[in-house]
């Protein structure tokens, strides 16, 4: 339907980020929800999980992503940004897509083995996708800020994706 096509179009836009205000105009939060759930599902079953069913860790990933996105949005609005609350949430959520792809690749690599080679491969993939995510979201979000505040807005976004990348990189299956 119409909504599904809009979600698909936004996914494509994230992978090839060019500044288009048309993307920002119709925001929706379906994509971020799907990405958040799939990322949280893939981060299950790590060695940090103790005896139980990985419940708290699943909710943790959720809370980190959504709460982090809300805090970044509030930060950019307090700095005088012109973007609306839900637009910013939409962009930040959709730009988690490269990191979800990185998580998928990491899990596949870990199936092959968990030695030094696999660590190096995972490191390279995660760094590349982290850079892609940060660049994609900055391309959309930094324009709505006055020019001397751009670094203040980019830094929390950098931190947000860094935390997610750290969770992905330090994931070791049980």
């Amino acid at each position: 339907m119409r909504d599904l096509k809009a979600v698909g179009k936004k996914f494509v836009h994230v992978m090839y980020p060019k500044k288009s205000s048309a993307l920002l105009r119709d925001w929706d939060l379906w994509g971020p929800l799907v990405l958040c759930v799939s990322l949280a599902l893939m981060l299950q079953g790590g060695s940090a999980d103790s005896k139980d069913d990985g419940g708290p860790q699943f909710a943790e990933v959720f809370v980190i992503i959504w709460f982090g996105a809300v805090v970044i949005t509030l930060n950019s609005k307090l700095l005088g940004g012109t973007i609306s609350f839900f637009q910013s949430l939409c962009v930040l959520g959709y730009c988690v897509l490269p990191l979800t792809v990185a998580m998928l690749v990491c899990r596949l690599v870990l199936l092959a083995g968990s030695g030094t080679v696999s660590f190096v491969v995972r490191l390279v993939v995660v760094i590349a996708m982290f850079g892609w995510s940060t660049l994609a979201s900055t391309a959309f979000l930094a324009d709505s800020q006055p020019p001397n505040r751009k670094a203040l807005v980019v830094y929390p976004i950098f931190l947000f994706y860094f935390v997610i990348s750290w969770m992905i990189l330090t994931f070791t299956p049980q």
């Binding site: 920002l24 119709d26 929800l33 759930v37 012109t82 609306s84």
Partner: protein
């Protein structure tokens, strides 16, 4: 010569026949929308209450309830509100990036009995479920089962968003919500005030006549 009314034969007997009116009151005009309006909300609540029976896995329950809540939000916002009560609301961002929230209500000339039944079901479902999720919030908080807290907060925000949006639609364009609530409290004790005023007038008159 009387001009013949097109379809007059169909409209006349239906309006006059009380049996047909009763039938239309029982069967709503949008049975599917009514069903789905309640289905997703109630199944989310039921799954939350009985998740231990369905599955041992916290993750499966969490994802199921979250998906049910999201489908419920989408269907109530986009489909059932429009079909059952003729209200809709959305967000629009114009050329210079400013966001506007738009609330619309459809003008209805006649209110059929079936529409009233549907509207009652709509508003009951819309109001009762956020209240239930708020109770869940307090019960998780006090029983310290904090891993469910994220889910309950998500449920409360999604359902309250729809509730707020539709209330705004219903009242918007006429008065603002704060004025409506204040006028509600005013009309509640207007009878007391009227009697007080009448008695004050009487006392004034008596006082005046007494002093004279």
């Amino acid at each position: 010569l009387r001009p013949s009314r097109p379809g007059g034969g169909a409209a006349g007997p239906a309006a006059a026949d009380p049996l047909c009116l009763g039938c239309s009151a029982l069967f709503s005009r949008h049975p599917l929308a009514t069903f789905f309006h309640l289905f997703f909300r109630v199944s989310a609540i039921v799954t939350y209450l009985f998740c231990d029976w369905f599955s041992n896995s916290f993750v499966a329950c969490f994802v199921t309830i979250l998906l049910l809540l999201s489908f419920d939000f989408w269907s109530v916002k986009n489909v059932t509100g429009r079909l059952l009560v003729g209200l809709r609301w959305w967000n629009q961002i114009d050329e210079d990036g400013k966001s506007h929230w738009i609330f619309e209500a459809k003008r209805v000339s006649t209110i059929a009995a079936s529409t009233e039944v549907e509207a009652r079901i709509f508003w009951l479902g819309l109001i009762i479920c956020p209240v239930i999720w708020t109770m869940f919030f307090f019960s998780t908080l006090f029983s310290l089962k904090l891993k469910w807290l994220a889910l309950v907060i998500a449920g409360i925000s999604l359902q309250t968003a729809n509730l707020y949006g539709y209330i705004h639609c219903k009242l918007g364009g006429q008065k603002s919500i704060s004025r409506i609530t204040s006028s509600f409290f005013v009309t509640a004790d207007v009878s007391k005030r009227q009697t007080r005023r009448i008695s004050e007038n009487c006392i004034e008159e008596h006082g005046n006549t007494a002093s004279r």
